[in-house]
């Protein structure tokens, strides 16, 4: 029997998770096959628990593990690193908890913060570096770890309470859809709830809009001054948060 056939057989046996024989394995291999079937699932559940720690805390052991096992069946890992496993777990949770949108939102936050943890490094600039900037043509460069997710619940507050070991607040729908931005400042992953205005400003900056065009697009025809002031306020927050890596 060829090596390829043996490996395909063992792979299929592990994925099917049925007791019985795998072709090519010695006759006394049943106990060993059970070890490999169990180890495969146990390792992936442990990986998802580790990555989605606050989601796990929110759902509890039984609820989380059932979701994890369902995900493992639908999405066998394909990457060489376990770190990559779970990217689509929030989608799985959306399907499993259609009436509880905070579950997938918590999972998105867990995932994004984990990705920011070991994402590419970036050096933010200081406010002093803006002294010579020509704002008409300046384009802001944001850190590569920055990611933005849409939310309709108070999932950020729930996540914060769970992380701090506090009793989480009850789930609430937000009065209007909002967003959370996730990034890494220095070595520390960060998150912050943002409103629709900042969400739009960040999307434009990420799309490479010049600062002047960004202000123009964000404001109506009659409130240019007010818009510039508001974006100026945002810029101050972004600088403080280490979100501006260059402006020029």
């Amino acid at each position: 029997m060829s090596l390829l056939a043996i490996q395909r057989g063992l792979r299929d046996h592990i994925l099917a998770n049925q007791s019985g024989q795998s072709e090519g394995v010695s006759a006394r291999g049943a106990a060993g096959l059970a070890v490999y079937r169990h180890a495969y699932r146990a390792q992936l559940v442990a990986c998802l628990r580790d990555t989605f720690e606050q989601t796990w805390s929110w759902l509890g052991d039984d609820g989380f593990d059932a979701a994890a096992l369902s995900h493992i069946v639908a999405h066998p890992p394909c990457g060489w690193t376990l770190d990559a496993y779970g990217e689509d777990f929030p989608e799985t949770l959306t399907g499993l908890y259609p009436d509880d949108p905070e579950v997938a939102e918590l999972a998105w936050l867990d995932w994004s913060l984990r990705r920011a943890f070991d994402g590419p490094d970036a050096d933010p600039i200081t406010p002093e570096a803006l002294a010579e900037v020509d704002w008409e043509s300046a384009v802001l460069t944001l850190p590569p770890t920055l990611t933005i997710g849409e939310v309709i619940t108070n999932s950020a507050a729930i996540w914060g309470a769970l992380t701090g070991g506090e009793a989480p607040p009850a789930v609430e729908r937000l009065p209007a859809p909002a967003a959370i931005r996730v990034w890494r400042q220095g070595l520390s992953p960060q998150y912050r709830s943002i409103d629709a205005f900042e969400r739009q400003a960040l999307a434009m900056a990420l799309d490479g809009y010049t600062f002047a065009r960004l202000c123009e697009q964000l404001g109506g025809p009659d409130d240019a001054e007010r818009t510039v002031a508001r974006v100026g306020g945002l810029l101050g927050t972004w600088l403080q948060d280490g979100l501006v890596c260059s402006a020029g």
């Binding site: 060993g32 070890v35 490094d121």
Partner: protein
């Protein structure tokens, strides 16, 4: 492959694990080298690489991987090799090791160390994959004997016989896991002493010491216990056969305070030293 030399003896080391990061960053830890799990640092930035760089300033580093999948019939993944090479260039490790096993096939990755049949065909596949890896990394690699829980009907040779021929054909070296020999020997009914006697003396560059657990039917390589007496006894036997070889305590679960592992490492030092003096 370059003719880069791996020294026959690099002393006594520990695996670098997250609970001990602060110890390694804040204190002088009496180890000759640390071993890192390569995949934990094959990332683009952030704290993992910051810690690795800081530890590398203080200690020689050996890189130990779990995802090379050297026995896959469809070869080693180019993306994995590229990322591994990037880390090798950053760390300049004492050596790079992985396991004699396969982890994935045709887009699927089990993230487990799955056993290989010890056949002529598997040997040819493994050797071709090793040659490719060594060419890309520009250095010989070390491969570790795995713990295994089943064997194959078509096996044509012993594991140690397979490894001896693999070393001869590729110039690779061995990371001999003493606990794995004990676990597999118990599970499959072979004599660990015979196994050690069959390993080529000049190819062993590192030894792992670890603990295991009794499963329902089989011994399981859990790395969650201190090194047990039968593994220490096998280590003595290995020291007598191989002489001074870099040795490491490997602990991956129920990780105790660093001091406990250093005490265990002192035991390895003493046992190896005693046998060396007697030789």
């Amino acid at each position: 492959m370059s003719d880069r030399v791996i020294a026959p003896f690099e002393g006594f080391g520990l695996g670098l694990r997250p609970p001990h990061y602060a110890d390694f960053l804040d204190h002088e830890i009496p180890v000759d080298f640390v071993e890192v799990i390569s995949e934990n640092f094959m990332v683009r930035g952030g704290r993992p690489l910051y810690i690795l760089d800081a530890v590398r300033e203080r200690h020689p580093v050996a890189m130990h991987g779990v995802s090379m999948s050297i026995g896959s019939a469809d070869g080693v993944k180019p993306d994995y090799l590229r990322r591994l090479k990037t880390l090798v260039d950053r760390v300049d490790p004492l050596w790079v090791s992985d396991h004699l096993c396969w982890t994935g096939l045709e887009g699927f990755n089990s993230h487990d160390l799955l056993p290989l049949p010890y056949t002529e065909e598997a040997l040819a596949v493994v050797c071709a994959n090793i040659n490719r890896v060594q060419d890309v990394l520009e250095r010989p690699i070390l491969l570790e004997n795995p713990s295994s829980y089943l064997t194959f009907a078509d096996d044509e040779m012993t594991e140690h016989g397979f490894m001896a021929r693999m070393c001869e054909a590729t110039g690779c070296f061995l990371l001999l896991d003493i606990n794995n020999i004990y676990v597999s020997g118990t599970n499959h009914g072979f004599d660990p002493a015979t196994y050690i006697a069959g390993v080529p003396v000049d190819r062993v560059r590192q030894m792992h010491l670890a603990g295991h657990s009794q499963g329902r039917d089989l011994l399981i390589d859990t790395h969650d216990q201190p090194v047990p007496d039968p593994v220490w006894a096998l280590y003595d036997l290995a020291c007598q056969r191989f002489g001074p070889v870099a040795t490491m305590i490997e602990r991956d679960d129920d990780i105790p305070p660093l001091g406990e592992l250093l005490t265990e490492l002192d035991i390895a030092r003493a046992r190896a030293g005693r046998l060396e003096c007697a030789a």
